[in-house]
Amino acid sequence: MNRFRRANRTVVIASAAAMSFGLAASASAQETFKLGVVTFLSGPAADSFGVPARNGAQFVIDQLNKGSAPSPYEKVGFGGMKIEPVIIDENGGATKQVQELRNLYQRDNVDVVLGYIGSGDCLAVAPIAEELKKMLVLMDCGTPRIFEESKYNYVFRTAAHATMDNVGLIRYMKAKNVKMGTLSAINQDYAWGQDSRADFIAAAEQLYPGVKLQTDLLPKFGAGQYGTEISALVGAGSDVVYSSLWGGDLQAFVLQSAPRGLPKRSQLVFSAADHVLPPLGDKMPDGTIIGARGAYGLMSQKSPLNEWLFRGYEAANGVYPVQASYRMTQAILGLKAAVEKAMSKNGGKKPSTDELVAAMTGLEWPSPGGLIQMKLADGHQAIQPIAFSRTKYNPDLKRVDLVDIQYFAAECVNPPPGVKSIDWIKGGMQGAKCN
């Protein structure tokens, strides 16, 4: 961390000085690749996503700069250029993020900005990068709106959007023939919660025709105490209780609902819960169906790449990597692939933004979480495989294991190009390839 900071401080001061003499153009570094990394270091999303993502970034960047990543990523840094990260806190709202993005590009002269977990932040920063004609790699945020509402040339998202989380979840429940005559839901009252709820219910109506929605709760984000909500849910006693809660809210909800018998009355189904397994441990009721927004962590498929990340990260941080770490990794690896592809075309020079963009568009690359394919939004939006499973506490390892894991191919849970997610779901998920 320190090293990074000291490094870029000097550069920034230099470049700032340079710019004030009006030579902004010539201020970018030669043989290093300056990468702006934006992730939550404070605020409610820090522990669940922000910090695992940052740790992932630091691990991967270290490895790449040492040239000790497995094939096909063994080249040092990005095509020989050392990666020099500038890490920024995503906390503080879209207004602040827009400003910080400008600073990264215009003041700190980073070559590419990579990151963003909050959907609101992604929506806000995308058009700015497009205007500045600078490359922006969104690594995590959930909302499909980014590319469904507008077209971008300089903006990419290297992770699938939230649609597959809920479509996949329903497919999994169907596959494991989970009974769902009645359904209750609890989701946070902001975009992520509202959208996830809409997707899940829409998908449920397709695969579980006639499912009855009973209690449908939208507690405030960060409420922390769910006594009342739990009473309502237990009272309803539906077959299934669905939730897209995450982080501290999800943990609090699980902690408070278990002793009140909710897991006994209803099948709990969490669309994005892998990141709370390490902290919750035996507090997570067995048999809960969970997703990880990808084939990540304990649900990841064996591969040299995955071993490298899983073991390496665990060694470096004491805990195994969860979705955010994986998503950060696949973003950085994707960028590396693009840079090196561009360099192979332009004879090994540091590629220009436009060369980079051309290389990234429609790219495919292997990642610890499986194959990433930039298939949607004219090659700007990734699709990827996803996995779901049930929890089972393992007293020997003192951790939650995941059992009867099932994978779904990217084409099975993601809409085909040119179709709006919600329309695709409501239209019966036409053209899904589930082999």
Binding site: A24, A94, T95, E100, G120, L123, A124, A126, T143
Partner: protein, 329 residues
């Protein structure tokens, strides 16, 4: 005290500040734009504060302006920067006209809390309204000016900078004139003793309402700038911490100099962004310490740095016990 204000000089200053943008490095342009628009809304708070009332809900009008402009822009494709500022100001002002008279009779903490409550209700409504993108909000196109559209980033940034600096500058001049006017004097009188004001046959509520509307107009315009600068709007505009930041700037600046408001908001932006760059894990701590420092060592606000020891006339630095402000007859 009764020194004449030199209009030409002030206009000259605004012009100079605008042209200065030509030599500023690009990244500071958008920073300064945000700073200017924050200064504008903070100025409104200072105007209102002269009646002894501090609003912790300016985010309400900020958001009203922003959303108003954004919706109209997306509906009719109206992108002209100046037109958008006017619309924003109008939206803020109209809402102020509705709310001002209703809450003018409250004072002190109650005034603050009520404004905060109203803005939070609005926030709640926005988060609910999925048609407006809920908590994620939505984007708008880049602004144009008199039919010219700016594709070169630097030119676009400069255009925004110029418009915001000019508008804020003229708002500042207007405020200076207002402060020296009869009405400005009456506003101070309301702060000092609203009962006597009533006994003089002057309606304290009317005085407060008018100042309130002025503040709302500034807030609405400021919302328009924030929108133009970031092309994106979300309910955060109306959240209490947003409003808090504007009060923060107003107090930082003190009320002795209108220019101080601009300086304060620029300083805040710089501190925030550099501490976020170099101390990404502790920028809030830096911000807090900075704030404490200013409050402690510059009681009269940043303005007192160059205004010096003029007779105390501050709205935010003199204590009035709540007992007196609690129940106005």
């Amino acid at each position: 005290m009764k020194k004449e204000l030199h209009l030409p000089v002030m206009i000259g200053l605004v012009a100079a500040a605008t042209l200065f943008g030509r030599v500023l490095p690009t990244w500071t342009l958008s920073l300064a734009t945000i700073a200017a628009s924050n200064a504008l809304i903070a100025l409104g708070i200072v105007v209102l504060a002269r009646t002894g009332n501090v609003s912790f809900g300016q985010g309400l009008f900020f958001a009203a302006g922003g959303y108003g402009v954004a919706l109209i822009a997306n509906a009719w494709g109206l992108t002209d920067a100046v037109a958008q500022v006017v619309i924003g100001a109008a939206c803020g002002g109209l809402l102020g006209l509705v709310i001002g008279p209703l809450i003018a009779r409250y004072s002190g903490i109650f005034f603050g809390m009520l404004t905060l409550a109203l803005s939070m209700v609005f926030y709640g409504a926005l988060v609910k309204s999925t048609a407006l993108g809920g908590s994620d909000g939505f984007n708008v196109g880049r602004p144009s000016l008199f039919g010219m559209s700016f594709t070169d980033p630097r030119e676009a940034d400069f255009m925004l900078y110029a418009v915001s600096v000019i508008v804020t500058g003229f708002a500042g001049i207007a405020a200076t004139i207002l402060f020296k006017s009869e009405f400005g004097l009456a506003s101070l009188a309301v702060r000092e003793n609203n009962l006597r004001v009533e006994y003089l046959g002057i309606s304290a509520n009317r005085v407060i309402s008018i100042n309130f509307v002025i503040a709302a107009v500034f807030a609405g315009a400021s919302g328009a700038f924030a929108l133009m600068a970031q092309r994106h709007i979300d309910p955060q505009f109306a959240y209490w911490t947003t409003s808090g930041e504007f009060v923060f700037i107003a107090v930082l600046a003190g009320n002795q100099s209108v220019a101080a408001v601009f300086v304060a908001s620029m300083a805040l932006e710089l501190v925030r962004s550099f501490s976020n760059l170099y101390l990404p894990n502790t920028w809030q701590l830096v911000l807090g310490v900075f704030l404490l420092g200013v409050i402690l060592f510059l009681p009269g606000g940043i303005g007192s740095l160059w205004i010096g020891k003029r007779r105390k006339r501050s709205t935010l630095a003199t204590k009035e016990p709540l007992a007196e402000k609690g129940a106005a007859p």
